[in-house]
């Protein structure tokens, strides 16, 4: 459906998108996740032919966007909700778009209703709130009844109602067999919407895998062990390593253990007579997994090499915040990276 081949965009010295190669499959919601500045918007702009790739290609059903005879019927895109002439009414804005493709005015009314803007169709776009602007953008994206929908951070700045609306809406679109490609810098949001996840950092592909895979890998628990005696902890660590656990030193008095249950770690500590002040199971949330994934690309120059499948979610960054509740409990609770 959407195929990126070695897509690269450089702005002077800066590489905004770095040899991105991926496929966006139909009938699914594909989340496009990355911290701010990762290159998501630039990638989408290149797919739409707004920006020119420095090298590589972005094709829609094998064609460049500019070569599509009826682009709005193939790809509906919402890039920047504010990119509408503020003194034009919502209706006229959509009508102009529709006329460019020979789409009738009836369809304009339909998409206005679908987006819940029927009441304010005659109002100027400049008077719209951000949420209404996003809805107008979505109405425009739906105008041509396209097979592919591409939305850049559609929940940005929305209230919980709006977020919920978009989430359900994307689901209904995917359920109809459409290809939905939606970007976000919020893992919690992606966890709730996406079937498949593409993670980028510093323009590079970090992970490309079904959500279930990423979830199963990231949900393995770790155990946090803290004690006052460094010597004892070292003994415990040696014992844990014998059990084939992964041990990471947070500090001289603190270990993070993965691969063993909290009960087993407790038993081993008891067996070695190690005094503990804390023994706690930490459930790694998807949010945390995401931070681990992107930590390298945010903090350091080196990102894991791009490749097919999930990269191991090995911890390689700075100390993580303590385990958070499984992301997505609170509607508005999202971790901004």
């Amino acid at each position: 459906m959407l195929t990126l081949q070695g897509l690269t965009k450089r702005y002077g010295e800066k590489t905004a998108v770095d040899r991105l190669t991926l496929d966006v499959a139909p009938g699914k919601i594909t989340g496009f996740l990355g911290p701010n500045g990762a290159g998501k918007s630039t990638t989408m702009r290149m797919i739409l032919g707004l920006d020119h790739p420095t090298s590589g290609t972005a094709l829609i059903k094998g064609k460049r966007y500019a070569d599509l005879a009826h682009p709005l019927r193939e790809v509906g895109a919402l890039l920047d909700a504010k990119a509408v002439h503020p003194r034009r009414t919502a209706y006229r804005h959509l009508l102009a778009m529709a006329r460019s493709h020979g789409i009738g005015a009836k369809r304009v009314d339909q998409v206005l209703d679908v987006a819940g803007l029927g009441e304010v169709a005659g109002k100027r776009a400049g008077s719209f709130s951000l949420g209404m602007g996003q809805r107008l953008g979505i109405a425009g994206a739906l105008l041509g009844d396209p097979e592919v929908l591409m939305l850049d951070e559609p929940v940005n700045g929305l209230d919980p109602d709006g977020v919920l609306w978009i989430r359900n809406f994307l689901r209904s679109l995917a359920a109809e067999g459409r290809t939905v490609f939606v970007s976000s810098h919020l893992m919690s949001e992606m966890e709730l919407t996406a079937d498949r996840l593409i993670v980028i950092g510093k323009g590079k592909l970090i992970a490309d895998a079904p959500m279930a895979d990423i979830l199963s890998r990231s949900s393995r628990n770790s155990v946090r062990v803290r004690g006052p005696e460094a010597e004892g902890l070292r003994l415990l660590a040696d014992r844990l390593l014998e059990e084939a656990a992964d041990v990471t030193w947070e500090s001289a008095g603190e270990l993070v253990v993965t691969g063993l249950s909290v009960e087993r770690v407790g038993d081993l500590a008891h067996e070695r007579h190690v005094r503990l002040h804390e023994l706690r199971a930490v459930e790694a949330s998807l949010e945390q997994a995401y931070m681990e994934l992107t930590a390298g690309s945010v903090e350091y120059g080196q990102a894991p090499p791009p490749g097919p499948g999930v990269q191991p979610l090995a911890y390689g960054g700075p100390p993580l915040p303590y385990g958070q509740p499984h992301a997505g409990q609170g509607e508005g609770e999202s971790l901004v990276v």
């Binding site: 702009r45 707004l50 920006d51 709005l72 778009m97």
Partner: protein, 262 residues
């Protein structure tokens, strides 16, 4: 695609078979956008006022009994009205860059040449239609203000047509120029340089070559095209030179837009 029979919330699909679009669609979109902004009407009203006042003033100071009653309208076009009409053409481009809606325009019509031609047809067409009305206003106001003048129907009709064509071509030129420059301030500056400042500088250089060169710039070519009497090269050459300028700017804009990130 064919498996989809409904769009979200059960709305029926747009059209089973894609049709429409192309250049006619792009023109229809530009037309819709142009007339959905109130400022379009303001510009045309201002142009009418400028025409009436300027042609009236010129008519008052015209004391050549052999002059056509269309002469004040022609002069008012070159010295005033054309800038208002060009500003409308300019805003159809720079306004989209300023608001960011150019990305929406290019999403609908990704072919840069088609987008620019559609804007040219729309703005040129509106300038032509408005130009006929504006010229008629100018002839009426100017003619009434003149103490003596020649009214010959076919000649006046030709002048009115020439004014409309001049405004249309200048609008096309401006669309191209504005697409290259993108910002309103920059486009206004470039337009004034091209139409007024550069010719003045060239004519102030005491060498025939530069004085002659100034005669081939758009403003002089338009004036020749609309002139009463054939001066340097006459109306037909004037028209062709103006067409060439408009085509050159449109072509340059297409090349620039194809290469440049939106």
């Amino acid at each position: 695609m064919s498996s989809l029979t409904t769009s979200p919330a059960g709305a029926p699909r747009a059209t089973p078979r894609p049709s429409g679009g192309g250049l006619p669609g792009a023109v229809a979109a530009e037309w819709t956008k142009l007339w959905s902004l109130r400022s379009t009407w303001y510009f045309l009203l201002v142009a009418a006022a400028v025409m009436a006042v300027t042609a009236g003033c010129i008519g008052t100071v015209s004391h050549d009994p052999a002059a056509s009653v269309a002469r004040p309208a022609t002069l008012a076009t070159v010295y005033g009205v054309e800038f208002v009409v060009a500003a409308l053409a300019m805003l159809s481009v720079t306004g989209e860059y300023a608001t960011g809606s150019i990305t929406n325009t290019l999403q609908c019509v990704p072919n840069r040449a088609r987008m620019l031609v559609a804007k040219s047809i729309t703005l040129g067409g509106v300038a032509f239609g408005a130009g006929i009305v504006l010229a008629a206003i100018g002839v009426a106001a100017g003619g009434a203000a003149m103490d003596a003048g020649v009214f010959e129907m076919s000649y006046v009709a030709g002048q009115v047509l020439a004014i409309a064509v001049h405004l249309a071509l200048l609008s096309v030129l401006t669309v191209g120029l504005a697409a290259i420059v993108r910002s309103s301030a920059g486009a206004i500056t470039a337009l004034f340089l091209l139409l007024l400042i550069v010719p003045m500088i060239l004519q102030s250089i005491p060498a025939d070559f530069f004085t002659d060169l100034a005669q081939f710039l758009p403003q002089a070519a338009g004036a020749q095209f609309m002139a009463d009497e054939a001066e340097l090269y006459g109306p037909v050459a004037g028209l062709l030179i103006l067409v060439a300028w408009a085509a050159a700017f449109l072509t340059a804009a297409t090349v620039v837009l194809r290469r440049r990130d939106a």
